[in-house]
């Protein structure tokens, strides 16, 4: 008997507690920067596409919902010819972000992507690519990797000596 009264009392007390429920969508939830929501493709500090089409995100994806095709511009810089994420399959696990060697693919705190038509959940590159560096500022993969691209020749990356003169006899 006592326990029933106690329970009722406790329940009644909750009426005066601060509400956990928020009035979504009028009121927005507070999400943190590392919250794993919608996937975007970011750009490097020079506003070049960060994605180099290495296929690691696709390989890491446990539901195989990422598909892309790498291609190259005339200077040798790689980028995805198409990049497609099927969000109707995505489980927002963030493995793709973890696998990405260039910080290109990032999960951002946005989850408002519901659709009435499932086909609309297939995002192409134009839907994914944003004009921002996202969460990771200042990183430019091509400044580190030894590939020559337009505007960066051999030996011009970070921690690189100028190219060897093969015909030199100097020891």
């Amino acid at each position: 008997m006592f326990s029933i009264l106690r329970s009722m009392g406790l329940t009644f007390l909750h009426a005066f507690h601060k509400r956990d429920t928020i009035q979504y969508p009028e009121e927005k939830a507070k999400l943190f920067p590392r919250w794993r929501g919608r996937i975007v493709l970011t750009r490097d500090p020079d506003m070049g596409e960060r994605c180099v089409g290495c296929y690691l995100c696709a390989a890491a994806c446990p539901v195989d919902c990422i598909s892309l095709q790498a291609t190259e511009d005339e200077t040798g810089r790689r980028y995805p010819e198409f990049f497609r994420i099927n969000f109707s399959r995505c489980i927002f696990c963030g493995f793709c972000e973890e696998a990405c060697p260039t910080y290109a693919i990032q999960l951002i705190p946005d989850f408002e992507m519901a659709e009435y038509n499932r086909q609309n959940l297939v995002y192409e590159k134009k839907d994914l690519l944003i004009n921002s560096q996202g969460k990771y500022l200042g990183y430019n993969y091509y400044k580190v990797a030894g590939m020559a691209i337009g505007g960066k020749g051999k030996g011009e990356a970070i921690n690189e000596n100028p190219p060897v003169d093969v015909k030199s006899l100097i020891p």
């Binding site: 296929y55 919902c65 030894g146």
Partner: protein
């Protein structure tokens, strides 16, 4: 067998090998870079270090390079010893100090030996904080990409290119830590086997440039075991597809055929599959629009062919099944082989020689171990490239005896080559013009086909008295014949190579006589005959009437309609004859995968699958039946030729074809119909084959994107495509262990993502695959003591006034019909020309590049002259199959037209 102790566990291993090979054979993971099973050890990379102990009591041991240490009985070694492990980790750390860290944009990534070995050695954190060495790259032609920063200086590339493949234009430059592997200047890599560098290089320095145009990681490819279609050798390949287009060809190890390598035509010729010239829809010319669905096409065919008197024309580049299905559909009496008259005679003769002759038809592996070789009338580098590579290894056999005498194991590559120096075993070449193999030959003769045959007959006569005598030989020919006969007689495993390329029956007969004569004395003598196309021998075994008789049948009204199977008739018969044939036929139905002159004339064209979209069996020049598998599912309209023929047969209510449903049914019927094809059922497992109830997947377990790759068309995923013809699936589901050797889609093993994982599939390193190599030999020599000799010795060649004797010349890049449609191959193909010797050019008052007008088989041809002094006076070389060079049955006499002749006809272009 020797007993070795690895980490105190005794193992039985084969003596004579090195410890690295022994460890890998036993399945122990030991990292390595510079060692390659085909090229031996040099101990350059220091990666395969292990500890060796004196005896059981020895606990200290010493570090040795396992690739440099022979297997000794009771040797005790440790792979897992901490100091050895640490040493290997340090070595790879050093190798990585200059690594550019560009795996994400490196084509090798995911199939990279350096990645695998780094993971295997345990190195995972970069401590070196100084600057990296960098290099400039070179342009190496349309096939290979160069990214020198990734180099780890293992020297495999130059060892393969120079030592193994005999190339001259790739070398190592500079010194100390500036060592550079490349050409002396930018330019196309000349060697015909350069593509193998992409596989030989353990990193991404040399990568496949054609793959780069549509780059896909190895794990994303849908792969199937296939057989190369670009010459008669039948090298095994793995073909990979992504997003509906063929992406890459890699060599598929076969211990009996191609081993680790393939030629550039085989590796880079695949792009015809993605060509815009592909036929992708059934076409009915009387319809508007022409492209129709499968049902409409079959309806149309039923309407037209129901009453027709049909003949069928087969093809040497179509599978055995397709040819047999056509033969069954039209009936044995109406089946014609779609090959030119001369080729048919030559292939029939080759088949007869292989069947009735006493000499064994060598596989490529056996060619490598032959110790004296005589090549008659073949330019192997251009007609059967991998055979040329095998011959290059065979000339090492005799000098290696000296190496064995000095107690140096063969795999001690640097020591063996140092001892051998430039010594070469006997190799004799009698060819129409200079060949690339001439540089390693003991003696060469460049002569007309008849003179080559006479030399051959003379050699046969010198070996055995029973062979016919050749009279009126010049002194030079006599000495050479004597030299060749002596070398062949003293050899332990002599080999005669000839084939259809010279276009001369006499040459083949001479080769058969030598082989026969040798077999009277040396039972191990062998013979290799090349044939024109990938399934020429299979088609000849199947048998059929001549193409000429097909023409006559239509013209004389014995038949009114024709089905042409995967064949461009303009490449195997005279233009006027084909025009009149196709004009007279009421219905012309062509099944092919590419548009060409014949499909233009056809009323109904059906889209046939290429090797990548079809299953089938090919018989190579050795008589080995090998199965190739469909790589990727195709839209319903595009299907195997044999399936089209079954569809047609079913709609016509054909008593036999109506009962066939899949590939196995055809093979069963073929094996029952013809005794010589009994073996093909054993060439590959049937479609019902399962391991643990499962099929074999064509895709790796890491295959990505399957819920997204077609999502832009429809987000709901369709049912996975089924494969009723083979024990393979088009998906990643299925049995993950090792499949039987003939259905290995790709080589992979945990920790071994690169092609080097083939180690895990071999009985012993560099030997046969587990459970035997793929393919079944359908032809074995007869054991007889009575050799039959051909007696028709030809007269020597005599020039004719105002005439040139046109002989065929071949080009690895250009002569083959399909590969020429690959842009890279087309770039390497020569311009059309006619080759004459300087004396003739002088007599005709022509200079290099001037046009020569001649009439050949009633067609007037104008081609620029190329001076070639190896061509016999009075003969001229006409490049066979090259675009821009019209078809003519060669060899044949051409009449030289005077320069003043009014030019009436434009030179005809064969597409």
């Amino acid at each position: 067998m020797a007993t070795i102790y690895i980490d105190n566990v005794p193992y039985e291993v084969k003596p004579g090998k090195n410890l690295l090979e022994a460890c890998l054979t036993l399945g122990i993971n030991l990292p390595y870079f510079c060692w390659h099973p085909a090229m031996g050890s040099v101990g350059a990379c220091r990666q395969c270090a292990v500890k060796v102990f004196k005896d059981e009591a020895d606990t200290k041991g010493r570090l040795i390079m396992s690739c440099m240490e022979p297997v000794r009985d009771n040797i005790r070694l440790s792979v897992d010893e901490p100091e050895a492990k640490e040493f290997r980790e340090h070595v790879i750390e050093w190798l990585m100090t200059n690594h550019p860290h560009d795996c994400a944009v490196c084509d090798e990534g995911g199939a990279c030996h350096l990645q695998d070995m780094t993971v295997m050695s345990g190195h995972n954190y970069r401590r070196y904080e100084y600057k990296k060495r960098t290099y400039q790259n070179q342009y190496l032609g349309p096939f290979l990409n160069h990214e020198m920063n990734r180099c780890i200086q293992c020297y495999r590339c130059v060892r393969f290119y120079k030592d193994y493949a005999g190339g001259h234009d790739l070398d190592v430059f500079a010194a100390h830590n500036h060592v550079y592997f490349g050409r002396h200047e930018n330019g196309v890599l000349e060697n015909e086997f350069s593509g193998n560098l992409a596989e030989v290089c353990p990193t991404g320095v040399f990568t496949d440039k054609t793959l780069k145009q549509h780059y896909t990681r190895k794990w994303d490819l849908t792969m199937a075991p296939s057989v190369c279609q670009h010459c008669s050798l039948g090298c095994n390949i793995s073909a990979g597809e992504r997003y509906g287009s063929l992406r890459q060809i890699t060599s598929r190890y076969n211990g009996e055929v191609n081993g680790y390598f393939i030629c550039d035509r085989g590796r880079f010729g695949y792009e015809f599959v993605n060509s815009p010239a592909r036929i992708r829809k059934a076409l009915v010319r009387t319809h508007l629009p022409e492209a129709v669905t499968k049902e409409v096409a079959l309806q149309e065919i039923w309407g037209e062919l129901r009453q027709a008197r049909l003949i069928g024309i087969g093809s040497p580049r179509a599978s055995l099944e397709s040819n047999f299905a056509l033969k069954a559909l039209v009936g044995e009496n109406n089946f014609h082989l779609g090959v030119d008259e001369n080729d048919q005679d030559l292939v029939d003769l080759s088949l007869k020689i292989l069947r009735k002759g006493p000499a064994r038809n060598f596989s490529l592996r056996e060619v490598e171990t032959a110790d004296a070789v005589f090549i008659l009338g073949e330019d192997l580098t251009n007609t059967a490239p991998m055979l040329a590579l095998a011959v290059r290894q065979s000339v090492r056999q005799q000098p290696l005896a000296q190496v064995a005498q000095a107690s140096i194991p063969f795999w001690q590559d640097a020591a063996a080559r140092e001892l051998v120096q430039d010594k070469k075993g006997p190799l004799f070449i009698a060819s129409i013009t200079a060949t690339k193999l001439d540089e390693i030959a003991t003696a060469t003769a460049h002569a007309s086909p008849d003179a080559i045959a006479r030399l051959g007959f003379a050699v046969a006569n010198l070996i055995s008295e029973n062979s016919p005598v050749v009279t009126h030989l010049s002194e030079a020919e006599e000495t050479m014949a004597q030299q060749i006969a002596d070398a062949l007689k003293t050899a332990k495993k002599p080999l005669i190579i000839s084939g259809c390329a010279s276009g001369s029956e006499a040459v083949l007969k001479a080769a058969a006589n030598i082989a026969g004569a040798l077999c009277e004395q040396v039972k191990t003598a062998g013979i290799v005959l090349t044939v024109p196309e990938c399934n020429s021998l299979g088609l000849a075994m199947l048998g059929g009437h001549r193409l000429e008789s097909a023409f006559e049948a239509i013209q004389n009204g014995y038949a009114d309609s024709v089905i042409i199977l995967e064949n461009n008739l303009y490449r195997c018969a005279n233009k006027t004859a084909v025009d009149s044939f196709l004009g007279h036929a009421k219905e012309v139905l062509v099944l092919d995968h590419l548009h060409h002159a014949t499909t233009e004339k056809a009323r109904i064209v059906l889209p046939a699958g290429t090797f990548a979209e079809a299953d089938g069996t090919l018989v190579n020049n050795e008589g080995r039946a090998q199965r190739f598998y469909q790589v990727y599912p195709t839209p319903e309209d595009l299907q195997e030729s044999w399936r089209w023929l079954i569809n047609i047969g079913t709609s016509l209510r054909h008593p036999v074809l109506s009962n066939w449903k899949n590939l196995d049914d055809i093979n069963q019927a073929l094996a029952e119909a013809d005794n010589q094809f009994k073996g093909i059922l054993a060439a590959a497992p049937p479609a019902e084959f399962r391991i643990a109830g499962q099929k074999i997947p064509r895709e790796s377990h890491r295959f990505s994107g399957r819920t997204a790759m077609n999502a832009h068309h429809a987000v709901s995923e369709p049912k996975p495509p089924e494969d009723p013809d083979t024990p393979l699936t088009f998906t990643m589901e299925g049995y993950r262990g090792e499949p039987p050797s003939s259905i290995i889609p790709f080589f992979w093993s945990p920790g071994w993502n690169s092609i080097q994982s083939v180690n895990k599939y071999q009985e012993e390193i560099g030997g046969h695959l587990h459970h035997g190599d793929p393919g079944i030999r359908l032809i074995e020599p007869v054991q007889t003591n009575l050799t039959h000799y051909f007696s028709e010795v030809p007269e020597d060649f005599a020039p004719l006034q105002n005439h040139l004797f046109m002989v065929p010349l071949y080009h690895i890049f250009g002569s083959e019909e399909q590969s020429i449609l690959a842009p890279g191959i087309a770039q390497r193909a020569p311009e059309p020309y006619v080759a004459i010797c300087e004396a003739d050019a002088h007599a005709l008052q022509l200079k290099e590049g001037n046009n020569l007008d001649f009439s050949l088989e009633h067609q007037i041809i104008r081609l620029p002259v190329k001076i070639n002094n190896d061509i016999t006076k009075g003969t001229a070389g006409l490049p066979k199959g090259l675009p821009g060079v019209p078809y003519a049955e060669l060899p044949a006499w051409a009449i030289i037209l005077k320069q003043e002749t009014t030019w009436k006809h434009q030179p005809q272009i064969i597409s």
